[in-house]
């Protein structure tokens, strides 16, 4: 009653005014909330934290993989000694033959023995070289396998890293952004409703407008 006295006019105007002011207050609050959510959304979108890929620094170690059998040396030192020993033995035997006046056939036999000895040495070197080649080939094969395994490890790490970054981004920032966006949509609806309520309250009052200032609008 006191409120009607304050405003004046017919009592429905005072009631309508307070209804309209409540709707205006609600609309203003909704507009503020909308602005707040928009500010929050902007910050969330702008300052998306860079998700660190824990696999980012994984490097291929394939360049460090070498074939330890690639350059194996042949043990020719012992073979050379053996040849030298054979030559010395042959020289000594020839000296003995000369001193004792032994036949030329004995010398020939000695030379043949020396030749056989040298052939044996050559065969030993050949055998070593063959063994080394086999080892180098096996080493090469092993190295290729190791390099492939390392490359596969890198590819897996890269894929896992990408998956991690995607997953982390999706579950963190996007969740917050989506939620805030949802709230923003909801508050826009509330704002529209408050404005509609305001219009409704004002329309109700317009019926009483003619009473303000007597018959002003009728004149």
């Amino acid at each position: 009653m006191a409120v009607s006295a304050i405003i004046g006019g017919v009592s429905s105007i005072a009631g309508g005014l307070f209804g309209s002011s409540a709707a205006k207050k609600a609309a203003a609050a909704a507009a503020r909330e909308k602005r707040r959510l928009q500010g929050k959304l902007n910050r969330l979108e702008k300052n998306r934290q860079e998700v660190i890929n824990p696999y980012e620094d994984v490097k291929s170690l394939s360049s460090m993989i070498t074939n330890p059998f690639a350059n194996l040396g042949v043990a020719t030192g012992a073979a050379e000694i053996k040849i030298e020993e054979a030559d010395i033995s042959l020289a000594n035997s020839l000296d003995t033959i000369r001193a004792t006046g032994a036949s030329a056939g004995g010398a020939t036999a000695l030379a043949q023995a020396a030749l056989r000895s040298k052939k044996g040495v050559a065969a030993s070197i050949e055998q070593q070289e063959k063994s080394n080649e086999d080892k180098a080939a096996a080493g090469e094969q092993q190295m290729q396998r190791a390099k492939m395994a390392e490359e596969q490890r890198i590819q897996s790490a890269e894929a896992a890293g990408k998956q991690f970054v995607f997953g982390a981004t999706e579950s963190r920032e996007q969740g917050a952004i989506d939620r805030t966006y949802g709230e923003l949509q909801a508050v826009s609806g509330a704002q529209a409703q408050a404005k509609a309520d305001q219009t409704g309250a004002m329309t109700g009052m317009f019926g009483s407008l003619a009473s303000i200032g007597g018959s002003l609008l009728k004149q």
Partner: protein
């Protein structure tokens, strides 16, 4: 500034208390609220309207074009709608002074005006107050409040009020509901699992921070802190990686602050009412008695727009307020989730066992 704050505080306490009901002078006197704003404003308009209309109809206008008369008639025809719109906007603005978390640093003139317009005891015509609605020559309207509590009349023009509303500003700064905001923020900072959030959008009663933030032993078991509960008994409580929690929640708090700062007067109100003093929620509930921020408050007339250093300070203190008043309860005195570890035990035995484990683990 302090005078204004004290005046607002007095008005708030006066309006909220029932003291006036026991004042015999008041109860025996007349309380006349018959301000009749609209009746008084439009009392002579009918005659003015008729004169203008007559001047036009009888070719007796000031000028040949009757421009003045036509403009005046247009103003008068639009005036009632403008008045209703103006009054409803003004009532909406002034009603903020009655909000429970109203910032007392707002201009106390608006609190007095609201007391008049809402017919509060002690603010009637009989108490020396009055309100006028004036229809101005240019079509604008103004409302004038006068009375003992005003040092000078409070004049508000409808065009100024409309301009403020259009730019999303207000005469009286409403205080954001920080409690509601922070309860919601708790669910958004990413340290609680989604199933801990109830249908009302807030954390459920038994909500706990996810296991990811619990400090664990190398063997994967939680590294409990033992607390003394008296009588030689103890309990395990969970220890949390507070640095990790802080790193996780900070971007979300900063986004919340950015949202608040999108309306700086709201941020000032939040600062004055809640944030500035670093008070507890309980203390804030009694803010009428505490006179809000007092000497650390920011002024609406002097501190707006907010300088960068104030924005940084606001962000820092907002975070502290959130951490101390809302998050801390989830990182302190939290019982283990493993049933067996949550039992009460003999303190001496437990301490001995823990020491022995340390010796064993470190081969001492």
């Amino acid at each position: 500034m302090e005078k204004n704050l004290n005046k607002n505080l007095f008005l708030q306490q006066f309006n909220e208390s029932d003291a006036i009901a026991y004042n015999k002078d008041f109860t025996s006197g007349i309380s006349d609220y018959n301000f009749q704003l609209l009746d008084n404003a439009y009392r002579n308009t009918g005659r003015v309207y008729a004169k203008l209309k007559l001047a036009i109809d009888s070719n007796r206008c000031q000028e040949e074009t009757c421009a003045y008369e036509l403009a005046e008639i247009k103003h008068l025809q639009e005036a009632p709608q403008l008045s209703l719109d103006f009054l409803s906007s003004l009532i909406a603005e002034l009603s903020v002074t009655g909000d429970p978390n109203f910032d007392l640093n707002n201009d106390s003139k608006y609190t007095i005006a609201n007391s008049i317009i809402s017919a509060k005891p002690g603010f009637s015509k009989s108490d020396g107050y009055n309100v006028y609605l004036d229809l101005l020559q240019d079509g604008a309207q103004q409302i004038v409040f006068i009375g003992p509590a005003f040092e000078e009349p409070l004049v508000i023009n409808n065009t100024a009020l409309n301009a403020l509303a259009e730019s999303n500003t207000s005469l009286v700064a409403p205080t954001p509901d920080i409690n509601k905001d922070m309860l919601r923020l708790l669910t958004e900072v990413g340290i609680f699992s989604p199933d801990m959030v109830g249908e009302n959008g807030e954390l459920t009663a038994g909500a706990k921070i996810t296991q990811e933030y619990v400090i664990m032993n190398p063997d994967g078991t939680p590294d409990y802190e033992i607390i003394d509960i008296g009588n030689g008994k103890g309990r395990n409580i969970l220890k949390y990686d507070l640095d990790k929690i802080e790193k996780k929640v900070t971007p979300f708090i900063n986004a919340e602050v950015a949202g608040l700062l999108s309306s700086e007067q709201d941020a000032v109100a939040a600062w004055n009412v809640y944030i500035s003093k670093g008070t507890s929620v309980e203390e804030d509930d009694q803010m009428a008695q505490n006179a809000n921020a007092g000497d650390t408050s920011w002024s609406y007339t002097e501190d707006l727009p907010l300088m960068q250093d104030k924005k940084v300070l606001f962000e820092k203190k907002y975070k502290e307020y959130f951490m101390n008043n809302y998050l801390k309860q989830f990182t302190t005195n939290q019982l283990p989730t493993v049933q067996a570890d949550a039992a009460v035990f003999d303190l001496a035995e437990a301490k001995k066992a823990k020491a022995q484990k340390f010796i064993d683990d470190n081969n001492l």
